[in-house]
């Protein structure tokens, strides 16, 4: 499938495994539940490993494991559920996670700017047919007043 990653449309071959699905080789993501239950098996996984988180999950608990993942998927059950914006900020700023952070779920064009400013850099759009158009969202604003994941200094230091 196609996704937006680093402001480009790219082919993506990550496999998001259900908790019941059998483990396969290659690039897979698992839920926090599965990671905690099958920690040892998954640590020996051949291929890249990714973790899926929802706003309900205790983010702080997985911080020691972050190095195991080359992808963190943040799930937006509804586009109005803003908890994962804080997750993205914390992953980037506090826990210095440098891998891919992806938004999945009810991910729409009009939230991409804020999501990217919060530190999310790849997007599985809920309406993939709007992907081409959605690329313009990253340029909605040329500046931000705040300290963001993309701009570590607030605007007032550039004035």
């Amino acid at each position: 499938m196609q996704i937006i990653k680093d402001r480009e449309i790219v082919e993506d071959n990550w496999l998001h495994l259900d908790d019941e699905a059998e483990l396969v080789a290659g690039k897979i993501t698992v839920s926090l539940n599965r990671w905690q239950e099958q920690h040892e098996t998954l640590s020996k996984h051949e291929g890249d490993l990714g973790l899926r988180l929802t706003g309900e999950d205790p983010l702080e608990e997985i911080v020691p494991d972050l190095a195991s993942f080359s992808l963190i998927v943040l799930i937006f059950p509804a586009f109005t559920d803003g908890r994962c914006y804080s997750f993205a900020r914390l992953l980037r700023d506090r826990y210095h996670y440098t891998g891919e952070i992806r938004a999945q779920g009810d991910v729409l064009r009009d939230q991409l700017f804020y999501m990217s400013q919060s530190g999310i850099n790849s997007f599985e759009l809920a309406n993939p047919e709007q992907m081409e158009n959605a690329l313009t969202a990253f340029n909605d604003f040329s500046e931000s007043y705040q300290t963001t994941a993309l701009k570590p200094e607030p605007l007032y230091r550039r004035r």
């Binding site: 804080s86 009009d110 919060s118 004035r159």
Partner: protein, 550 residues
């Protein structure tokens, strides 16, 4: 007042372009109603019963004459020639079309105005004291801090989809004219024991279905730490606030469910991490403060004798001065309230023509600035006392000299069932009826300071639970009934009103107000104000009289 630089201007213009495209995509069917709703709300656009309603932000209630003229022009061109000022010092257009909103916002952007975050589950317009910078008892002018908060909260990427709306108010005096204890965050500029100025931080106040007064989360916060502390509170709330039930989503409920001390622990722990990164530079504080320096007041203004003389000569002028004019920190200057509570006019409404006159008067008499207040009135904050008579004559000619500030006729009232999709009951017609019944100004002056607040539903937009007399519209099997509360206050001595008893049918509401006032007149000690009497005797004597008859 604050002036946009290129950064600020570019951002509001990009916002207009963004919203224009969102409106286009909505009309083209590319965005569903559900997807479009938060986007339009965060630009101030509600969809109501009769028509859309557009709320424009007036940051901390401060406007230039140029902006007021633009408001007049826009309301003439896109609306029915009037606007409505709200309790959060914003104003609303009641009849714009959805299609025209991008054009309205583009016009407003030319005078540094916008509807950004005036609605939606995000950080709303920051409000303040309408007397900021001109009252004698001020510890420090809160407006530069409001502007710093405005910039930090505008398009904050992390906090655009909060559990619920989030309101911040800042004051610099002991007296609270901004109802800060009813805000999600209330900030009080205070001096600590070392004489250093900082903020007392309150959290978890709010009205609506569950009115709660804010509590002190931090007694003293250094000014340079303001943004990091706010960000810490918001981050804790964004993660912890309930998203399963919109009536339990405000931070007041988060605080109640988790307890203030737990919330404080979480906030302080978060704050430690971000404190350094978000430290406010002295340079930035100074940059913003330079826009709020004192104007060049003339010492000779105090020499005027006409002010006293004209009061002696003209009783109507004297009455207006007594009721609508308050002291300024500089001798010879006064602050003049323009009441938007003329009899038979919906509270807070003002016509486009009146706005043009107000703009002219501000240029002529008050340094070109106009303020809007929490009580839905306007004011001119820097009038020479020698100019007041001329100002009053001009206001009178426009129907803007109603001398009823802080009387019972200075009611706060939500739009109610006539305009609002949420309301259960009408409110403006009730305010009108009360005004009609009490049209004798001398009677009103005798009653003194009585704050009546009327809301058409539980959302409590008119803050009825902190009215001295609160009136709340409820729906009973399709009929409009009204629940009374007594003894509320939104000021420094804030309290929530107590329920008088069972709801009262619509046709008995005005009679009930009469009964309550008659009771007060019997019960009061000499000059005792209504609120003091209620607090002294409790609500039982009022209850007995109201429910005795039925």
């Amino acid at each position: 007042m604050y002036q946009y630089d290129n950064y600020d201007q570019t951002m509001v213009e990009q916002r207009v372009a963004q919203y224009r495209d969102q409106t286009r995509r909505f009309l083209a069917g590319e965005l569903t109603e559900e997807q479009f709703r938060p986007l339009r709300l965060m630009n101030g656009l509600y969809v109501q019963i009769h028509a859309p309603m557009l709320r424009i932000a007036v940051p901390y209630g401060l406007m230039s004459s140029k902006q007021v003229r633009k408001i007049a022009e826009v309301s003439r061109k896109y609306d029915k020639g009037y606007v409505h000022f709200t309790t959060r010092t914003n104003f609303q257009l009641n009849w714009p079309t959805l299609e025209s909103v991008p054009d309205i916002l583009a016009e407003l952007a030319t005078v540094q105005m916008h509807g950004i975050q005036s609605s939606g589950n995000c950080i709303r317009n920051t409000t303040s004291d309408q007397l900021a910078g001109v009252s004698a008892d001020e510890i420090e002018d809160p407006r530069p801090w409001c502007e710093i908060i405005r910039q930090w909260s505008t398009f904050h990427p992390e906090f655009a989809y909060l559990p619920r709306k989030f309101k911040i108010a800042v004051i610099g005096t002991k007296e609270d004219r901004a109802a800060t204890q009813l805000h999600d965050i209330g900030l009080h500029l205070v001096k600590n024991h070392e004489g250093k100025t900082g903020f007392e931080v309150l959290v978890g106040g709010g009205l609506g279905r569950t009115p709660i007064l804010g509590q002190v989360i931090r007694p003293f916060l250094e000014k340079k730490d303001l943004l990091s502390y706010l960000e810490a509170i918001l981050r804790v709330y964004n993660r912890l606030g309930r998203r399963d039930n919109k009536y339990k989503a405000r931070i007041k409920i988060t605080v109640r469910e988790h307890g203030l001390s737990h919330i404080r622990e979480l906030v302080e722990a978060e704050w430690v991490h971000i404190r350094e990164q978000l430290l406010l530079d002295d340079k930035e504080i100074a940059r913003v403060k330079q826009y709020f320096t004192e104007p060049a007041y003339e010492a000779s203004a105090a020499d005027d004798v006409s002010f006293v003389q004209m009061q002696a000569e003209d009783a109507n002028f004297a009455r207006w001065v007594k009721q609508n004019v308050v002291d300024h920190k500089v001798a010879g200057y006064k602050i003049a309230y323009i009441s938007l509570k003329a009899p038979l006019v919906p509270p807070g409404d003002v016509t486009s023509d009146q706005l043009d006159v107000v703009a002219d008067l501000a240029d002529e008499f008050s340094m070109g600035e106009i303020r809007s207040s929490h009580n839905q009135n306007l004011l001119l904050s820097d009038v020479k006392q020698g100019d007041l008579y001329a100002l009053w004559l001009r206001l009178q000619a426009e129907g803007l000299a109603t001398a009823n500030i802080n009387t019972m006729a200075d009611m706060i009232c939500c739009p109610g069932l006539d305009f609002c999709g949420l309301a259960n009951a009408t409110s403006i017609p009730l305010a009108k009826e009360i005004n009609e019944r009490f049209d004798d100004l001398d009677y009103l002056y005798d009653l003194g300071d009585i704050k009546i607040k009327i809301s058409g539903c539980m959302n409590g937009c008119a803050h009825q639970s902190v009215g001295h007399i609160g009136i709340l519209g409820v729906d009973k099997k399709g009929e409009e009934w009204y629940q009374f509360t007594l003894g509320g206050s939104s000021e420094a001595d804030a309290s929530l009103g107590e329920r008088l008893g069972r709801a009262i049918p619509k046709d008995q509401v005005v009679d009930t107000v009469v009964t309550l006032l008659d009771a007060y007149k019997e019960l009061r000690h000499e000059d005792e104000l209504f609120l003091a009497t209620v607090r002294r005797v409790g609500i039982d004597p009022f209850k007995e009289r109201v429910y005795a008859d039925n």
